[in-house]
């Protein structure tokens, strides 16, 4: 394991406030998912249906993308394609520069975090106003999101109060109502005067050419209705075939993400209104490579609900920033290891006890913990791991297949143990935190 990862884990698990914040955040979402807890058979039926919808869509992705593009164009929506971040960002910049636009409002989009759109645009002189409350908070704090749907969940109300006090001279208050009201008033002016709004998309419906946007705050509606120009960044995998499939997907997304029966607002945008411009940028950025990977392609079924994060005990203790990239939790570990693939990323799937809570929670039935294991096998088969582990495992296999050696080793261990005082053994990397039991005086052999 890299020192950097080890340090990040250490920072997180030794921070009591962080531990408290994450526990609160993740447990409430899990508790509220009534469809899963009260009607598990129904949940299972929904999930299976959703899994089939996503599989079918991805199987016919090329067709659906082209269908959506044609529909968009016929309704006056401009379509762009970007193979990578560079291409996506520069195309967006071009749209802004063409109109001499210097500032915009932004709705939350994990894809734009992945592409680092903000940094790019800011470097090119554009003022970005994040409008989702969580994103607004972390923008002020200069941090990255720590969760897929609740970006500032790692922060306590006190930390946010301090932040607003420092940056805006708002008298210190942990009252979430006052803090929210402040953000509402502060951002209102930005909404009313913005010339461009940038958003992501939760889904794109192919047959009607519809952009589906889901939220609770209303900032997406304001960012996409008020400005004259609306730019949508969307991953190519976010397609759905038709509106009939939307009912299932929206209900599952809602329950899995926040425990709500239905999202507060769903915008179904199929038209560019007169005197307004609507642009959709379809982004690849590694998705086509994943598409070809027969073992990992199911990762593209993800609808970014965050349920796997909320159910993951590892995520709950290390938090989102430990994963080192845009996406945290089990899905993040896999996407980082298989899509970004920077040195060290392959370690992330090892940061799991493979408990399976994520697989049970995933609304589209991605076999997450099985994929974590598969990823480990891949890393191992490339013999990236250390020499000591390789030798150790070879030894382990030898002992486990040669009973005489096994018994001899255990006998020697027992003799050695007689020389050690006390009730416990000292085992490296274990005994720092837990007591290791001594071998029983007599093993069970028959």
């Amino acid at each position: 394991m890299s020192d950097a990862l080890k340090n990040r884990i250490h920072e997180a698990v030794t921070n009591p406030q962080l531990q408290k914040n994450y526990y609160k955040a993740t447990s409430s979402a899990v508790e509220k998912n009534e469809i899963r807890s009260k009607t598990p058979e129904l949940f299972e039926q929904f999930r299976t249906q959703a899994q089939h919808i996503r599989k079918h869509t991805l199987d016919h992705l090329e067709t659906y993308l082209e269908q959506a593009e044609n529909k968009f164009i016929s309704h006056g929506i401009k379509v762009h394609w970007a193979v990578d971040a560079k291409s996506a960002n520069s195309q967006a910049l071009k749209i802004l520069q063409k109109r001499g636009i210097k500032s915009l409002v932004k709705a939350k989009s994990m894809l734009t975090e992945e592409l680092e759109v903000n940094d790019f645009l800011i470097a090119n002189g554009i003022e970005i106003n994040e409008t989702d409350l969580g994103e607004f908070i972390i923008q002020v704090a200069g941090e990255k999101p720590s969760h897929i749907t609740a970006p500032a969940i790692h922060k306590s109300a006190g930390e946010i109060a301090r932040l607003f006090e420092e940056h805006f001279n708002l008298p210190y208050t942990e009252d979430e109502h006052i803090l929210t009201e402040f953000a509402r008033n502060y951002l209102r002016e930005k909404f009313l005067t913005a010339e461009v709004g940038i958003s992501g998309a939760n889904f794109i419906l192919a047959d009607s050419g519809t952009i589906v946007l889901v939220e609770n705050e209303g900032n997406i509606r304001l960012s996409t209705i008020l400005p004259k120009v609306h730019i949508v960044f969307v991953g190519i995998e976010k397609m759905l075939p038709n509106k009939e499939s939307l009912g299932t997907m929206l209900e599952l997304l809602s329950y899995s993400a926040t425990g709500q029966k239905f999202p507060g607002y769903v915008s179904l945008i199929s038209n560019a209104e007169p005197e307004r411009e609507l642009h959709v940028i379809f982004v690849d950025n590694g998705r086509t490579a994943l598409y070809k990977d027969s073992e990992m392609q199911e990762l593209l079924h993800c609808i970014r609900c965050g349920a796997c994060l909320n159910s993951c005990p590892v995520y709950q203790h290390v938090g989102g920033h430990t994963y080192g990239w845009t996406y945290p939790g089990p899905i993040g570990a896999l996407l980082t290891a298989t899509m970004r693939r920077e040195p060290g990323d392959e370690q992330l799937p090892f940061m799991s006890s493979l408990c399976g809570a994520c697989t049970a929670a995933c609304p589209v039935k991605i076999p997450l913990h099985h994929l974590l294991l598969k990823s480990r096998h891949r890393t191992q088969s490339k013999r990236i791991k250390s020499l000591s582990w390789n030798l150790g495992m070879k030894g382990f296999s030898f002992i486990s297949t040669h009973p005489k050696w096994y018994r001899m080793l255990m006998l020697k261990a027992r003799l050695l143990q007689k020389l050690i005082p006390g009730k416990f053994l000292w085992i490296p990397l274990w005994s720092k935190y837990k007591k290791f039991p001594k071998l029983a005086k007599k093993a069970f052999r028959k």
């Binding site: 609160k24 979402a29 199987d59 989702d132 705050e217 009912g247 507060g264 179904l268």
Partner: protein, 200 residues
């Protein structure tokens, strides 16, 4: 440049084995009176519900709901229902700031979904999507015959040619320690006037 990107992407999306779309099942079946269910669900998501029998009672019910028509910006469809001569402002002529200054935005949703207590607004070219999101309080006039059981039932009737908005309750957030705050960027309150009349 753009087409090169597109070609590059689509060329990599060839897949030999393709699964069919399964027949989609709507798992939700509602048995009771849709109006009753809608009221319960809407109240569950912090909507304020008011009832009246027909459009003649509309103005008085609005008063009952605390709505000051002088401070209201009213949609075209709502204009035809509310007997108020003073208010003849057409919202589409207003700038964002002017519209935002109104306290109440009054609209007539095209559908209401009982299962989730939601409203659906179809925004035609002439419509104004700002009415239900900019003013501080959203007033929605829902007719009984616009009630549908579930979203899926509704989607069957919709063509999605124009822009649709599905509204479930007032705006909210839980981004601060998962504590729920009602009233974020959108309306802080959603008052629904349920009109018992069948015909509209």
């Amino acid at each position: 440049m753009m087409n090169l990107n597109k070609k590059q992407i689509l060329n990599k999306l060839k897949r030999p084995a393709k699964s069919d779309l399964p027949e989609l099942i709507n798992f939700r079946e509602l048995e009771n009176d849709l109006l009753d269910i809608f009221k319960i669900e809407a109240e569950r998501i912090q909507c304020d519900i008011y009832k009246c029998n027909n459009i003649n009672e509309l103005t008085s019910t609005l008063e009952q709901a605390g709505v000051n028509l002088e401070e209201s910006i009213i949609s075209e469809s709502a204009h035809r229902l509310i007997k108020n001569d003073n208010n003849t402002v057409y919202s589409t002529k207003l700038s964002h700031s002017e519209l935002a200054a109104y306290k109440y935005g009054i609209t007539v949703p095209d559908y209401a979904i009982a299962y989730t207590g939601s409203l659906i607004e179809i925004n035609t070219i002439k419509g104004d999507r700002r009415l239900s999101v900019l003013p501080e309080i959203h007033i929605a006039i829902v007719f009984k015959n616009k009630l549908v059981a579930t979203l899926t039932d509704c989607l069957m009737k919709m063509t999605l040619d124009s822009n649709y908005t599905i509204i479930s309750g007032p705006s909210r957030t839980a981004d601060i320690e998962k504590r729920i705050v009602i009233g974020a960027h959108g309306p802080k309150q959603l008052k629904i006037i349920l009109v018992g009349e069948e015909k509209y």
